[in-house]
């Protein structure tokens, strides 16, 4: 059947058709929709959100060792978190076919870095596939499970934002059912004590050599011969840009297996063409390999080493031509993303921004936007879970140096469960004094609302126990009187809690508990937060002195011009933060 599918939908479909029975992931753009699309195959595939990528990968590894075809998925930086298990799983190999989908984000549309995980595939010695569109995403995933079993290697499916989020027409197929063997311990294969691991390390080289031989003759790697004047070696979405740039004026070696690279095939292709061009996004991964074979080629000396590619860039780089365009001398204003109208993070950042002599360590989530004007109340962002540990290190270092700067760490609920909880143990265990603020908006927000261990529901829609954050903090060793939970839309509550906890020379936790305004509320939410979306705010223009205090909350529902400020009724969610900061009592809350 022909349907339109994004790369992510196609990967989920490929897992279904390929006989997968287990899938786990931690959400992360651009990979999130892979697991979001899994529950529709729930009769055949059990799927779940894990607290982080390492856990997701280990769970999928467990399923594979148990003999079941399994998949895990993550964004590119998630592979750093999952590097520990996958580097060793490459040694042991698989029982049930295993696919790890890793989605890179060239151009950093929604990411803190732009790492090229083809390097990790090589480093971890994984069999790495890279599709160029949704059809290949489906076909490659489907075939990857059997291939993984045949080669006794975990497969890394390397994709990028434009593969994940581009929709193309795909032809779907039928599911291939794979049997599940009875469990049989294979201690020499799966217990990587040094004596066994040294043997496995040696056999891994044999498996890689076999995989390279396979790659030289495999349908995953495709040669398209046209004009032999130019030979283009490419992979992933870059193939599409190259194909559009050169058309039939070049021949192509389109690599669908990017580790191990097929030396014989590359040499053979290059011997048939006059010039070799390498078209690839991010690092000169293919280029360096081709050069190491003693083949002259042109690549990153003309193509950028970073950011996304597109046909315009490839065309300009190799052909020197640029399209004719309309131009205007009127400048546009940048439109940076902002915390939504009614976002429960606003009240916290508004109060934090007033504090002097503090360092605010941040984390990964919508609340990273607390850095932006007019709030400007977030000073660092490195990686998932880093806010609390960074804050610990900073506060120890500052104190040691005789400085009295107070350190506050800001982290979301899902990020706290991801890896923040370990950092909080560090603070308690080592007598840290940074104030940890957990922004519990009852969902994983930025990636588009995925359930997590604190929300009470699973990916497949079942009810689940909720992590009790205050009880967890207490169990780690935070004193009960140093744990405060507030409604962040009530500025006086936030202020009082900050005033009480900031001066303490002990580990403290402030929890702001209010749901994300975009969340589809659960019955429990409606019960706990009965005023949600029941009111809106309105400015009484007679009382308003146009002082712009409300605008300083940064709420996008406030439309400020020279003459006045108005509240956009289609945006306002009635959080009342603007009303609380108005010095002239000019903002009213109206019930809908």
């Amino acid at each position: 059947m022909k349907v339109i599918m994004s790369g992510n939908e196609a990967i989920a479909r490929g897992a279904y058709e390929g006989g997968a029975r287990f899938a786990s992931a931690y959400p992360g753009t651009p990979s999130t929709e892979i697991l979001e699309n899994m529950p529709q195959y729930g009769e055949n595939i059990y799927s779940e959100w894990a607290p982080n990528e390492k856990v997701a990968t280990e769970a999928a590894i467990g399923a594979s060792i148990a003999g079941v075809r399994s998949l895990c998925a993550m964004k590119h930086v998630g592979m750093n978190v999952a590097a520990d298990p996958i580097y060793t799983f490459a040694y042991t190999g698989v029982t049930g076919g295993f696919v790890m989908v890793v989605a890179d984000d060239p151009g950093q549309h929604s990411s803190q870095n732009e790492q090229d995980n083809r390097n990790q595939a090589k480093g971890a010695k994984l069999l790495c596939l890279e599709p160029s569109d949704s059809q290949e995403a489906l076909d490659f995933t489907k075939k990857a499970f059997a291939l993984s079993e045949e080669m006794d290697m975990p497969v890394l499916m390397h994709v990028t934002t434009r593969i994940c989020h581009s929709k193309c027409i795909v032809e779907t197929g039928e599911r291939t059912e794979a049997g599940v063997p009875d469990f049989e311990p294979k201690i020499k294969k799966y217990v990587t004590a040094p004596a066994n691991a040294k043997v496995l390390r040696a056999t891994l080289e044999e498996r890689l050599a076999k995989a390279e031989e396979f790659a030289c003759n495999s349908e995953f790697n495709r040669v398209e011969m046209h004009s032999t004047e130019i030979g283009v070696i490419t992979c992933g979405v870059s193939y599409q840009y190259a194909r559009e740039t050169f058309g039939d004026d070049a021949s192509y070696l389109k690599l669908g297996i990017v580790n191990p690279l097929p030396d014989k095939l590359i040499k053979d292709f290059c011997s048939k063409v006059d010039k070799v061009y390498i078209v690839e996004e991010m690092d000169p991964y293919l280029e360096e390999h081709v050069k190491s074979l003693g083949i002259e080629c042109t690549g990153k000396d003309v193509i950028p080493k970073f950011d996304e590619l597109n046909t315009d860039i490839v065309r300009k780089a190799f052909l020197g031509t640029e399209p004719e365009t309309y131009k205007s001398d009127v400048q546009t204003v940048v439109r940076p993303p902002a915390l939504c109208a009614g976002c429960p993070h606003r009240g916290l950042f508004y109060e934090l921004a007033k504090k002097k002599n503090i360092m605010i360590t941040g984390d990964i989530g919508c609340y990273t936007l607390g850095m932006a004007p007019p709030l400007g109340a977030l000073h660092t962002c490195i990686c998932m879970g880093a806010s609390i540990s960074q804050g610990h290190g900073a506060s120890k270092a500052l104190k040691d140096a005789g400085k009295d700067t107070k350190v506050v760490s800001v982290i979301g609920d899902s990020t706290f469960f991801h890896t923040g909880v370990n950092s909080l143990m560090d603070v308690v265990y080592n007598g840290g004094t940074n104030l940890s603020i957990i922004l519990d908006n009852r969902i994983t927000g930025m990636t588009g609302h995925q359930q997590n261990p604190g929300t009470g529901y699973t990916l497949m829609g079942n009810e689940a126990p909720e992590v009790d954050i205050p009880a967890l903090c207490k169990a780690i060793g935070i004193k009960e009187e140093n744990i405060i939970t507030v409604n962040p839309n009530h500025l006086d509550e936030v202020k009082d809690a900050l005033d009480k906890l900031l001066p303490k020379e002990e580990p403290c936790v402030l929890i702001t508990r209010w749901p994300c305004v975009l969340k589809k509320f659960s019955p429990q939410d409606l019960d706990e937060f009965p005023t949600l979306h029941k009111t809106q705010c309105e400015i009484d223009q007679d009382k308003c002195k146009n002082c712009k205090m409300c605008v300083k909350t940064g709420c996008p529902a406030l439309i400020s011009t020279k003459d006045n400020v108005k509240i956009d009724r289609t945006s306002c969610n009635g959080c009342t933060v603007c009303k609380q900061v108005c010095p002239f009592d000019a903002i009213e809350e109206v019930t809908l």
């Binding site: 753009t29 027409i169 309309y326 205007s328 439109r335 993303p337 919508c366 990273t368 588009g448 400020s560």
Partner: protein
Amino acid sequence: MKEVKNILLVGVGGQGTILASKILTSGLMKAGYDVKMSEIHGMSQRGGSVSTQVRYGEKVYSPIVGKGSADVIVAFEEMEALRWLDHLKIGGTMVINDYRIQPVPVNLGMAEYPEGIIEHLKGICDVKAFKAAEIATELGNPKAMNIVLLGALVKSMDGLDDIDWDAEIEANVKPKFVELNKKAFHAGYSL
């Protein structure tokens, strides 16, 4: 049709470009075209500039609409039309929703929203501008402005009239909004 046609839908996160492009691509597929559609999710959705790119023809390679290649740009917000002007093909049409969303820097008085964008663009390229939000409000719901714009887009492209757009709306919209969206589509189409 050998040549690939390019459509860009641009706007501000939350304006409903995705549903409009979903209906569009589904209709194009049923008409027998190869279609690719590309969109960006994630942090930029939180009130930032967003774009959805649709390409169709006999065979489409890249999912991205390049500079100077869009046959039609549908701007859901007027400054976004200006931002994407260099993507319009010479001779292409700019369909503009006469509607403003103030970005944060303007709200904070750090920048000024450029005045007279639509008139300015009319002096540069072929512009079709109208108040889609008002039309949708008259039909009963301002949120249907995305489908009003879709109707205007279909009218602006050659060769899309034979597709059963009503059926596509029925297939992609919740039942209680089908009639509203059909009216919105036809209102946009007949402009």
